[in-house]
């Protein structure tokens, strides 16, 4: 009848009762909580440049939907602190398991933007090389990627590598059974994985209050024995500091870590969605004043780390990047229909060869 509970372990697992925050909404520094250091100046500046670029890229992608160049685009406007800190906290040899909403994070990770957008333009399902980039395909079936992330983390650990895996997931995704199974497996295996919940307050139209009655999603960790934290997701400094600590915890054998970032999805779920059906514009406007990019900019200026020149050059780089994305996305990709049969198995079965021949005859007939 051994009972493993002790006040100490329990408190060690629970998140801070209020989200960790370094910078107030108006950009002024607040007293940071104990245990989380302020990231180095250079990292913050790097984050700033990436946020500027990320936001510009996101805007460009949304524009491309209007021109019919993208089938669908889930914007992360307003979530840039999470998108950027999520990848900045990782090393190149760490792995990322993203959802469909992580385009900005993936671009920030250095993946070619056209490759990032390939899925969303209707090209091949995953446009980039997951092995070379150490980024799993953008995942649509919600929460399924979290358990893959645990498997990869366990694989890295077994191979004696000190890589860490970051699994991205949304607030809605935490309701799926797979998320539960992933947390439990991670804890039992003591796998080096960070679960990063971007709680952007909506799952398409469903608000958080209909999604969960938990005090905060970060309180889910203790039920698995996972150290957890909650953070102001629109405060880049806080997200980066907490995620860096979480990654370090995982890398140094501390086991999994769960981070909930409180943020907000400024745009509709995707360009195909009509957010006015389920939320008030007033709510959106209130969140404008918590904008993560403006907040970081003010903070960096006030700390004397950012001058107008640096701001201008960040925006200049972002414009150039966006122009390149626009141009490249305007070219139609070459698609080979016979590739449909190439990647079902390493070797096509006789049945697939037969079906390939059928398609060949159809295409020949069409040409005639």
């Amino acid at each position: 009848m051994s009972v493993r509970t002790s006040r100490q372990t329990v408190d060690g697992l629970l998140p801070s009762p209020v989200p960790v925050r370094f910078v107030a909404e108006d950009g002024t520094a607040v007293q940071p909580p104990a245990g989380y250091p302020v990231p180095a100046d250079e990292r913050l500046l790097e984050a700033y440049r990436r946020m500027v670029l990320g936001r510009r890229f996101d805007r460009q992608a949304t524009a491309l939907t209007k021109q019919g160049r993208l089938a669908v685009y889930p914007s992360s406007r307003g979530q840039e602190a999470c998108q950027i800190a999520g990848v900045l906290a990782l090393r190149e040899d760490d792995w990322v398991f993203p959802t469909y909403r992580e385009s900005v994070a993936l671009v920030s990770r250095g993946i070619d933007p056209v490759e990032v957008l390939t899925l969303l333009r209707g090209g091949w399902h995953c446009g980039y090389d997951p092995v070379a980039t150490r980024v799993a395909p953008q995942c649509t079936p919600l929460a399924t990627q979290t358990i893959h992330a645990v498997g990869m983390a366990e694989a890295l650990r077994r191979k004696g590598q000190d890589g860490v895996v970051m699994a991205f997931i949304g607030d809605g995704g935490t309701s799926e059974g797979d998320f539960h199974e992933a947390l439990n497996y991670a804890a039992v295996l003591h796998a080096p994985v960070v679960f990063f919940v971007q709680n952007n307050k909506y799952a398409i139209s469903v608000p958080l209050a209909k999604q969960s009655a938990a005090p905060a999603l970060a309180y889910k960790g203790i039920g698995y024995g996972i150290r957890s934290e909650q953070v102001d997701g629109n405060d880049l400094v806080a997200v980066l500091s907490v995620l860096t600590a979480a990654v370090e915890h995982a890398r140094t054998g501390g086991g999994p870590f769960l981070v909930e970032a409180h943020t907000y999805r400024m745009d509709a779920h995707t360009n195909a969605d009509d957010a006015t059906r389920y939320r008030e514009t007033g709510e959106v406007e209130r969140w404008e004043s918590a904008d993560p990019l403006a907040r970081l900019e003010t903070y960096l200026r006030e700390r004397g780390l950012l001058d107008p020149e640096a701001v201008a050059s960040a925006h200049q780089a972002a414009e150039e990047f966006a122009a390149r994305v626009r141009d490249e996305m305007n070219a139609d990709p070459e698609m080979d229909p016979f590739e449909l049969f190439d990647h079902v198995f390493a070797e096509p079965t006789p049945q697939l060869r037969e079906q390939r021949a059928l398609l060949a005859s159809e295409l020949t007939a069409q040409e005639d």
């Binding site: 089938a71 919600l142 809605g172 995704g173 139209s205 469903v206 969960s212 389920y278 698609m335 006789p350």
Partner: protein, 338 residues
């Protein structure tokens, strides 16, 4: 009679069911204020209140399991799975409970519930949004599997499904959501489940299809008519129960048959149809029953889906291979096609 889209007809069916039966309930992901991503539940929360049409937390096993419990408790839940592939998390609930509860309890408990699943492709949807999953359900004893191809059928089959004492998997061909047709919302029509429809008469061969493939079949018949070939088109409407009588009498009349399904072919519903037809019409058949289907591949990206989907040409090619003349059938000489 009113002309409406299939989406509107489905919406009307839900609305009328909620109005007429207070045990009826609608729930699922985003079916409330948003009205569902395809707007099939548009306006229901407004008209009937949050109690009758509500959003659930995001978990499909949860949605189906909740429906099981509520149906046990006397309600008639009509739940929506947002897309075909997103019903898979509920597969255990569907296969081990929804399909079996009546059986397990010797009929003491039944599950009058409907699981609506928008399915199949042709709308440029990205991966996981275009699976044809009807065979999984049709192969599971205890489930009725229904799929309309016209707005009128959509309305009445959904009404029938909600009124049915047993669980119904209601597969909505999403590319037909915006197709229009005359719809009778008035008196309940006679045909219920297990009644296929002969949508077009013909004497030369029978096309058997359902759901998303019906317009393809009808267009193929139209095109064949130009060449003097009269194709009969049978729409199954319900896969389970299956209407052997209509299918068999058509094929016995025409002597030739092509089965069309959008799903990957292997072990699909089309295989069942072909197997049944040759079992029952062997001596009437002048040629093998041929199947036209999607390839045995994961659903392709939007830019390639036209190569995958069975279209009029693929159907007509199959009709051509029905040995009206003496040419050998090159595609079914096993192993000989490269």
């Amino acid at each position: 009679m009113a002309a409406m889209t299939m989406a509107q007809a489905l919406n009307a069916a839900l609305r009328d069911a909620l109005r007429e039966d207070e045990r009826a309930l609608v729930f699922g992901e985003d079916v409330g204020p948003l009205g569902g991503v395809f707007r099939i539940t548009d306006g229901l929360t407004k008209e009937f209140g949050e109690d009758r049409c509500f959003d659930t937390p995001l978990a499909e096993a949860g949605i189906v399991g909740l429906a099981v419990g509520m149906a046990m408790g006397g309600f008639r839940p009509v739940v929506e799975m947002q897309f075909d592939a997103f019903a898979y998390p509920a597969f255990e609930q569907i296969a081990s409970h929804v399909a079996k509860l009546r059986n397990r309890t010797r009929g003491r408990l039944s599950l009058p519930m409907v699981i609506r699943i928008p399915y199949a492709g042709g709308i440029g949807g990205v991966e996981h949004h275009c699976d044809s999953s009807e065979a999984y359900y049709a192969h599971t004893p205890g489930l009725k599997v229904v799929t309309p191809a016209t707005p009128d059928d959509a309305y009445w089959l959904l009404r029938d499904a909600i009124a049915d004492p047993d669980p119904v998997i209601f597969m909505e061909p999403k590319r037909l959501y915006w197709s229009k047709g005359e719809t009778t919302l008035g008196d309940r029509r006679a045909a219920g489940f297990g009644q296929a429809a002969v949508l077009r008469e013909g004497r030369d061969a029978t096309l058997i299809a359902y759901g998303p493939s019906i317009p393809v079949a009808l267009q193929a018949a139209e095109a064949a008519a130009q060449d003097g070939i009269a194709l009969e088109v049978v729409d199954l409407r319900t896969i389970v129960p299956f209407d052997d009588a209509t299918v068999v009498s058509s094929v016995r009349k025409t002597g030739r048959c092509v089965v069309i399904q959008e799903a990957q072919g292997f072990a699909g519903v089309g295989a069942e149809i072909a197997a049944r037809v040759q079992e029952r019409c062997f001596h009437s058949l002048a040629a093998p029953v041929l199947r036209v289907s999607g390839f045995d591949i994961p659903y392709p990206p939007p830019m390639l889906e036209h190569s995958h989907l069975p279209d009029v040409d693929r159907v007509l090619d199959a009709v051509d291979r029905l040995q009206f003349g003496d040419e050998p059938d090159v595609f079914h000489l096993a192993g000989e096609a490269s």
